[in-house]
Symmetry: D2
Subunit: 298 residues, 4 copies
């Protein structure tokens, strides 16, 4: 299939490479010439602009952009995709943005007779390279089935979440819970250790009790508890604090728009904000436990 | 074995019955004559006071009391257990109290040459009746081995958590995390549904993603998501809001004593407090989701 | 002076009338024909669009719009003010918007050789009608002096806050503190009364102690403490909960943009959000005390 | 008048000296011999124990102790004041403790025919030395009138707050609000400055607007805004962070006992806790602004 791909950053570039590996023909665009050159070397064709990309005979377009402002500009701008793409071309936006903007863009696409899916991912740059991402997909069942094989070339777990925008809703809701759970584990582990317990024993008890959660049994923030977690390698790699901060910002903003209180979510956002402001934005988000550990502050 | 048992409430009575069923000889005490009569009918002998119980030839004493004040009074009071019990008798306190009081009582017991275990439980009245409780046990390894067979007559999962007080530490840390996780699930589910997602689809995604936790996959607070959760039977049964509130109070107080911040835990305590003050203290703690659901408030 | 005025809502209309009363010639625009007709009857001239207004010989333009999106559209839109206004005309935006947007618009104005002031107000519709508003003004000292006489026709207290955007900064910072202080007073009064104190005695003590604040001594949220406060007339009139919610949203968003934690501000926003979601958005914001008072919930 | 005084610490010693200066005869007790010796040198008589003090012919006893446990022990202990004091002697406890304990002790005193006042102070060691303390007094109107002249020898502002315990209620409620207001000012000032405003200009605007409060206009936490505030002398002197932390602990514990939510109060407690755990417990509590200021962390 001839596929267009916009946005060749840390996530987009390896995703695009996986589409090439799966045998697809690729036309790509990015503002960075170096990023484009990398993909061209791997077999893709460069387009000079989103409009130029849209005017080729691509059957499907994937975008992977930093934030809602870029998505609106690329899709809805005077010289954007919708102004130039043929009707019927399937549009898949894998950017992580707020659900209401995703729905606004999808509605505009429909008005142009372009079906659209929102398909944000989880799995990080590792999953993007390995082709093991999870895609949370919003859109009609029919459009989902049409897009699924292409997504399957880039990920392992392709989940239909319901209508337009629901991929973003699922991601924002999951990551809101994740950000809170991690803080909960940080508080429970720090308190237990401050009261004299061994962290590995405590984690073992929690992991077989009602406190059990992914942040404890798979990604425990206390150093040494899990050999392969970021906590045991200085909080390098993993899911950065600033990415968690971005997602909590999306959650609290979406909550504001639908007038839904998120008490713990809002406090969590402030705590990651404070931790980032101390210069820790690039550390894995589980490093937030250092806000609590007196020994770690030394 | 001849065992003494103090505190025959909703938890203590079925625990004591399981000791009788296991073939132990039991001498019991409670302020409620009706509670004592029930156990006597089942084969136990009544003692007139903690002191009287302590002066029998019991080899081991189990207590199950409401709060730290009762534990201090029963063990340390002028006419309490320590003033009358023979040296060497093993003392097991299964009450849920703060770790520092547990350690204070254990130290006093040691000074009387009485080994002591703190052994709070999880599993609720259902687990107490079925003999499937989890015991989180603090004390020396030797004392733990000595107490384990008796605890095994009342529970299924007997976990050694380290030295004196660590059973309480494990419980308070786990329940702190549980109280936070449940609020996190409540926020994520409420936000997702307010943004248009189906609650069962959303729970399914969370349960296979990084938001996965016991409060979502085993005890989901949204009605209808899990057939057997309290949420699907009007939040009856289960673990009461006021019990969660008590445990969060223990957590924040223990945190205060060791000067450990628990930001989300303190906010969680206030939210359960507000919910209880609205008259919901007897509902299962997962009903806290009604603080967030506009539809549920109608 | 010939002045243009855009935005004739609850605040803008009485402000415009005060300019007429002061003897200024007025050309006005609003999307609502009824609002325009009211001002025309009072002596103003109607313009058909912002562009048409800009093309008259006005020497100064005042705008009073609901939110940042309207300000950007009216000033920066393809058919907006900046595209049509003569260089040198002084622009004064009295809308309450985020400081960064205010600075973006001011920079665009400067690029058109139009000096600009941001001049949000406090004082409510009562102050707008009486001409007793406070204006918090950002912009150069020279521009401030030029705009001051016009603002003085609409307000009593005209405060220069520094460069462009600083009027918005002052308002957002003050109202962040106000929203927090009111909750602090609500908690202190509710706790004191729950512990058995008379509310008027307690307020009297606070007002002569270190808890003293405007929310206690001038606007006490407990009914009956201050005869003229909204609390003593069923929380009608005053500064609506939804307006406070909007301002806290501006504060937390501005904080996010400059990576500044606002722990209490974020929690305050959620509490007003919860109160608004219960149907109380139109009540004066001091009604937030009803989140705390058990007696008031009956 | 012959007065007994127990507790000659940083606050108690200068208070006792002021009673001597006013011409009263003083019998004193403290566990510290040095503290007692200081007062004896100034003219007081030493008592060997609280019981010995109680058995003299004192007409009135003042106590100034660190916490509720000391108050219970000194008044209610087997060898405490109530077991030995003559009926009719007026007891005044100026310690800062929780209201429920204050009421419990007052009820026990009444049962011994001893009238009692709770009379916590504000004003710090400076006010104690200068005799300018504020006393917040709980007890009957008659007992208040009887105690007032003695209190007036130690303070300037003697406020009757209602029945037994209400002095403590007033103090805890005021200081809850103070702890919150200070954080509100810290957030507003930090946000304003991060957004580019001059701190003195911003404080000036707040102090004439609805954000006005003692923490802003009298005790502003931003360095340089108020020449005489602790912020302008490195946060030395003043009201220590750990004292604020103690008072917020009393507030949240009192709130727990009457099942009253204090959302911001609980979060404030955690923030001062975190700041104290970083080693800042001895700094004036307004130093909490350093949790927010990026520049100050360098």
């Amino acid at each position: 299939m001839h596929i267009g791909f916009l946005g060749l950053g840390n996530m987009g570039a390896p995703m695009a490479r996986n589409l090439l590996r799966a045998g697809h023909q690729l036309t790509v665009f990015d503002l960075s010439e170096a990023a484009v050159a990398g993909l061209v070397e791997a077999g893709a064709t460069a387009a000079a602009s989103p409009a130029a990309l849209a005017r080729t005979d691509v059957e499907l377009i994937v975008s992977m952009l930093p934030a809602a402002a870029h998505v609106k500009s690329v899709y809805l701008g005077a010289d954007g995709l919708l102004a130039h793409v043929r009707p019927g071309v399937l549009l898949i936006d894998s950017s992580t943005i707020d659900p209401l903007t995703a729905r606004e863009v999808a509605a505009a696409a429909r008005a142009h007779d372009n079906p659209m899916l929102d398909a944000p991912v989880s799995g990080g740059t590792g999953g993007a390279a390995a082709g093991t991402l999870t895609f949370m997909v919003g859109g009609s069942a029919e459009d989902f089935e049409r897009g699924r094989p292409v997504l399957a070339a880039m990920g392992r777990n392709i989940v239909h979440c319901g209508g337009a925008g629901n991929g973003q809703v699922a991601k924002v809701a999951n990551n809101l819970l994740l950000g809170i759970s991690m803080l909960g584990v940080a508080e429970a582990m720090s308190l237990g250790v401050a009261l004299g317990m061994d962290p590995t024993v405590l984690a073992g008890i929690i992991n077989t009790s009602s406190g059990r959660c992914w942040s404890s049994d798979t990604y425990n923030p206390f150093p040494g508890v899990l050999e392969n977690a970021p906590a045991s390698r200085g909080y390098s790699g993993g899911f950065g604090t600033d990415l968690m901060l971005k997602d909590l910002g999306l959650a609290s903003e979406a909550a504001r728009q639908v007038r839904q209180p998120v008490f713990l979510g809002a406090l969590a956002q402030q705590l990651y904000q404070a931790f980032s402001a101390q210069g820790n934005g690039a550390l894995d988000f589980s490093a937030i436990i250092n806000l609590y550990r007196k020994d770690a502050q030394a």
